[in-house]
């Protein structure tokens, strides 16, 4: 089962597709609202959006296939030698990726805001710049409705490719196609649902459930990572691959064992590998893997509490001037602290965009 359907890959694709669909839907909503009177302009821009989105998607599909193909043909032998060590590392990478992408999914509405903001900024800012007709700024503005969805789908797509590469490193190539297709379908469906339903509570519930599943997977992956590292160490000492010899005594290190059942081995017994992928099941749990699992959940809960607190009070508990994103070194390195748009500026931007005047100007060009 895991050999044909990699759950992690499904969620990565689902998430990236959803993000791309939201951007496209925001753009579509924008032009529909602004330009619905002018049939020809509206149709032209709509066409631009669709061409941009689809061409971006196609390019990253080609790149993705090539990338992953190369990945597998080059790398497989190197990893096979110390499989447990690599599987452990891949599990860590997958855990980190899923953890980082999971929580933002719960704020998918924020993503909409973010993208609308970006769009507004792109249009309004370039509008205010006085440049020649053939300048780059003018060109980008003219084809903004093509470039924005193109760049977005391309970016999200490549991100997905990299993520899939990272998450699926330890799995065979056969586990890729189905979750990718299902992830695309699911992502597009949810995106469309979001666009037409104007977002309802049931959508939020759906997102909560899928995110919870995602974190169950991530916790299991983290636990597995530790388990793989321990198995690697044990196998180095025994000089063999103990757990692949079966489930009986002698296939695990008794000194680190918390429980061991002589069945249900996810590495050899069919069915249990799904249980392992979804919930991190191990028939031979170690202190490391059990403690790791619990610590992961503790970390998730603490992070959620901090996020919630910050959303409510606009700062972290006990630290009035500190926000969660300010703890990220990249925040300072990229100079984001200067670029942050205040609430008032946001409102102003939207006001500008809302005016019919602006939309008409855009149509004229």
């Amino acid at each position: 089962m895991v050999n044909v359907f990699n759950v992690e890959i499904f969620f990565v694709v689902f998430r990236e597709t959803l993000e791309a669909v939201i951007v496209v839907s925001v753009l579509l909503a924008f032009i529909k609202q602004g330009l619905s009177e002018d049939e020809t302009v509206y149709k032209r821009l709509r066409k631009q959006i669709w061409i941009g989105a689809i061409s971006g998607f196609l390019i990253c599909l080609i790149l993705g296939c090539a990338f992953i193909g190369a990945f597998y043909s080059l790398g497989k032998d190197v990893w096979a030698k110390s499989e447990d060590l690599w599987e452990g590392i891949f599990c860590v990478i997958a855990t980190v990726m899923i953890s980082l992408m999971g929580i933002p999914m719960l704020r998918i509405n924020k993503m909409q805001t973010k993208w609308r903001l970006k769009l507004a900024r792109a249009l309004v800012v370039s509008k205010n710049e006085k440049k020649g007709r053939f300048a780059f700024g003018h060109w980008t503005k003219k084809y903004a409705m093509f470039l924005l969805p193109f760049v977005t789908t391309l970016r999200e797509g490549l991100e997905a490719v990299v993520f899939i590469g990272g998450v699926g490193l330890g799995s065979p190539a056969t586990s890729f196609p189905i979750p990718v297709i299902v992830g695309l379908i699911a992502g597009i469906s949810v995106g469309v649902l979001l666009y037409y339903s104007g977002s309802t509570l049931s959508l939020q519930v759906f997102l909560c459930i899928s995110t919870a599943i995602l974190y169950l997977i991530a916790a299991g992956l983290f636990s597995r990572a530790i388990w793989f590292f321990e198995t690697y160490k044990y196998n180095q000492k025994t000089g063999g691959d103990a757990s692949e010899n079966g489930s009986g005594p002698g296939t695990y290190d008794i000194k680190t064992s918390v429980w061991h059942v002589n069945c249900c081995n996810p590495e050899t017994d069919n069915g249990w590998d799904i249980f392992n992928a979804l919930l991190g099941w191990q028939n031979s749990a170690t202190y490391g893997s059990v403690i790791g699992y619990n610590i992961y959940w503790l970390a998730v809960m603490i992070t959620l509490y901090l996020l919630w607190f910050e959303e409510k009070n606009n700062h972290l508990p006990f630290m009035k001037n500190l926000k969660l994103r300010q703890l990220n070194p990249l925040y300072w390195m990229k100079g984001k602290n200067k670029k942050e748009v205040s609430k008032e500026d946001q409102e102003k931007l939207f006001e500008q965009l809302k005016s019919k005047e602006f939309a008409n100007k855009l149509a004229e060009e």
Binding site: L106, N109, C208, L304
Partner: protein, 629 residues
């Protein structure tokens, strides 16, 4: 007639007295440098009197042996066992430590004093830890009369060749790594080489048209070997000291501790030389390293100027002589239904320390605190109660002159050569190799078994993978006799049982001398009392040595706690995600559509429905709406 009879008797007695000699040997153990395979010189090979290989000991039937063994090691005990000798009446000289004696401590000397009443090829080796794998073993040949005059077959000259595996590491290092939780499958260490007469590529100089009597002894501690020759045949005439009907074969399969005495006739032509091949039974090795030489070529040299022969390969290794169908020269019918049957199942498994052990009926042999023979002598009437010998020693008490049958079912997928001290036994049934079956095939007495009329008698016999054997013998040699797998690694894992044969006769006919007792005293080991060294109540085994407890099956308390905690953590985590996800913020959908300016009526409708869903958030929403309008 009456007059002459006593004279004749007197002459006979006199002649035995004249021929019987006493051999006095003084040996001191110690580490020596040796490089038998020409690849690696070890400095921890065990020699006697500074020499290695050890001397081949020779005696005639009826001779007395007085072997003084001094332990010349600084840190290790030692012991000596004369493999195959019955030690009739001298059980305390048999050698295995904590069975018939305490080990010889450093600096002490033990006298092994006994009479040899058998003939044939035997060998002597340490019965302590893995010492014989480190070189403390050699042949012990007993001639049938002076100059072997009574040997039933004609021959010109006698040779003794040993074969064995060889390690570059000492058993002192190998055993801890073997008996470790990091060797959970119980994989035996892989030898570095296979020796012939303690060397590689041995040269045997022969003369044409001669008949040689050759004693072939596997003095190894692990693997069986095949032997075959180029254009020559083996005529087997004796196994484990029992003469057989001559049996000609091209190939001999010889497990550790087995002996084959064969006659080899040389050619009348000296124009060339021939190969004498040895090959390890590689099915017994868990892994076969690329650089391990499985074949060994030795040379039968007729003509030193003719050049050495090439390696001589055979198509198949399946053509070896099946010792089960050998017939002893002195016929003895298979014993009828036994008086006492011992059924044991052999299995390998792990205990709670993660180490792989070997078991007879789920019990791995754990040495008692008191040598079993010491318990026999101190237990009085209780000596016939197997309980006094401990609950973890696999002890069985046999009554005088009973016919004993041992049924051994091998649940393991390996071959095991089993050796019984103090006896030769009839090999009544041996099952075929069931190694390919999904489950072991145990012995089924109700099935028809092809029992030979005159079954082979020997002291070491192998059992096939997942198969069985049945052996019978008569309990006519009072003593404490070890029955164990002769693979030294498996003995370390506890694949042994103890037969206490006719304990009351031992008490009345034998005794323990002061030298024997001194070995225990210097070691601070008790030699009276039951297996737990209890001298008051022989049936009280409190504090006896026992095996490590069994691996816990499935979920123990800590496992359940861990699993419950993990489940709770997972559920709480999911709840936290749900709470966070449903905690609507100022970025709620209503405001978003307002941002985009989507028609007002729609918003109004949606807002009212949203309000009913998320009552508490209405202030935020209202503020947002007001701001935008």
């Amino acid at each position: 007639m009456f007059v002459f009879e006593p004279v004749l008797l007197a002459v006979l007695v006199a002649s035995t007295c004249v021929t019987a000699k006493t051999h006095t040997w003084n040996f001191t153990t110690g580490f020596v440098n040796a490089n038998p395979d020409g690849v690696y010189e070890r400095d921890d090979v065990i020699g006697l009197n500074g020499q290695w290989p050890l001397p081949v000991l020779e005696a005639d039937k009826g001779d007395r042996i007085e072997l003084y063994l001094t332990n010349g090691f600084e840190d290790y005990n030692t012991s000596l066992h004369f493999h195959g000798l019955f030690q009739n009446g001298t059980n305390s000289m048999d050698g295995p430590e904590l069975i018939t004696q305490c080990p010889i401590p450093p600096g002490e000397t033990m006298l092994y004093n006994f009479t040899v009443d058998q003939v044939g090829a035997y060998w002597y080796h340490s019965h302590t830890a893995g010492q014989y794998g480190d070189g403390m073993r050699a042949a012990f040949i007993v001639h049938d009369g002076s100059d072997d005059d009574d040997f039933p077959y004609e021959y010109d000259e006698e040779f003794t060749f040993t074969i064995s595996e060889w390690y570059h590491e000492s058993s002192v290092d190998l055993i801890p790594n073997f008996m470790s939780r990091f060797n959970p499958t119980g994989a035996e260490p892989i030898p570095q080489n296979f020796l012939f007469n303690d060397t590689r590529n041995f040269t045997w100089n022969v003369e044409p048209s001669k008949t040689y009597k050759v004693n072939l002894i596997n003095v190894g501690g692990f693997v069986s070997q095949y032997l075959w020759m180029e254009d020559h045949t083996f005529k087997v005439v004796q196994v484990d000291g029992v003469y057989t009907q001559p049996n000609e074969t091209d190939m001999i399969y010889i497990t550790v501790a087995q002996r084959y005495t064969v006659l080899i006739e040389t050619k009348d032509d000296t124009s060339r030389n021939y190969a004498l091949m040895q090959r390890v039974d590689d099915t017994m090795l868990d892994v076969i390293p690329k650089d391990l030489e499985l074949n060994g070529t030795n040379y039968i040299v007729y003509n030193e100027s003719a050049g050495l022969p090439e390696e001589y390969k055979v198509e198949s290794l399946d053509i070896f002589l099946d010792d089960f169908w050998l017939e002893p020269l002195e016929a003895q019918e298979a014993y009828p239904d036994p008086d006492y049957q011992i059924v044991v199942d052999v299995a390998m498994d792990n205990l709670d320390d993660g180490v792989n052990y070997a078991f007879f009926n789920n019990l791995t042999y754990v040495a008692p605190k008191v040598p079993v023979l010491g318990t026999v002598f101190s237990a009085g009437e209780d000596a016939i109660n197997p309980l006094v010998y401990g609950s973890n020693t696999n002890s069985f008490v046999l009554e005088k002159d009973e016919v004993i049958e041992i049924v051994l079912n091998n649940l393991d997928t390996g071959k095991h050569p089993f050796h019984l001290h103090g006896h030769v036994f009839q090999t009544v049934v041996r099952g075929p190799d069931y190694g390919e079956e999904s489950t072991p095939v145990p012995y089924n007495a109700s099935e028809a078994h092809d029992i030979p009329e005159n079954p082979m008698r020997r002291d070491t016999v192998y059992v096939n993978p997942q198969s069985y054997f049945v052996i019978r013998f008569k309990a006519d040699n009072p003593g404490v006799w070890f029955f164990h797998c002769h693979i030294e690694w498996h003995l370390d894992q506890g694949l042994a049982l103890v037969l206490i044969e006719d304990p009351l006769s031992i008490q009345s006919q034998q005794n323990l001398d002061d030298n024997w007792k001194r070995m225990c005293e210097v070691n601070n080991m008790p030699y009276v009392g039951n297996a737990a060294a209890n001298t008051e109540n022989f049936l009280d085994l409190t504090d006896e040595n026992v095996q490590v407890k069994n691996l816990p099956a499935g979920f123990t308390a800590r496992g359940i706690v861990a699993l419950v905690f993990s489940c709770i953590a997972g559920i709480l985590g999911c709840v936290a995600i749900g709470l966070y996800g449903l905690a609507a913020t100022d970025d709620n959908p209503v405001k978003l559509s307002q941002d985009l300016g989507i028609d007002e009526e729609f918003i109004q409708d949606e807002t009212s429905s949203q309000l009913s869903h998320n009552g508490s958030k209405d202030t935020t929403e209202k503020t947002a709406t007001e701001l935008l309008n």
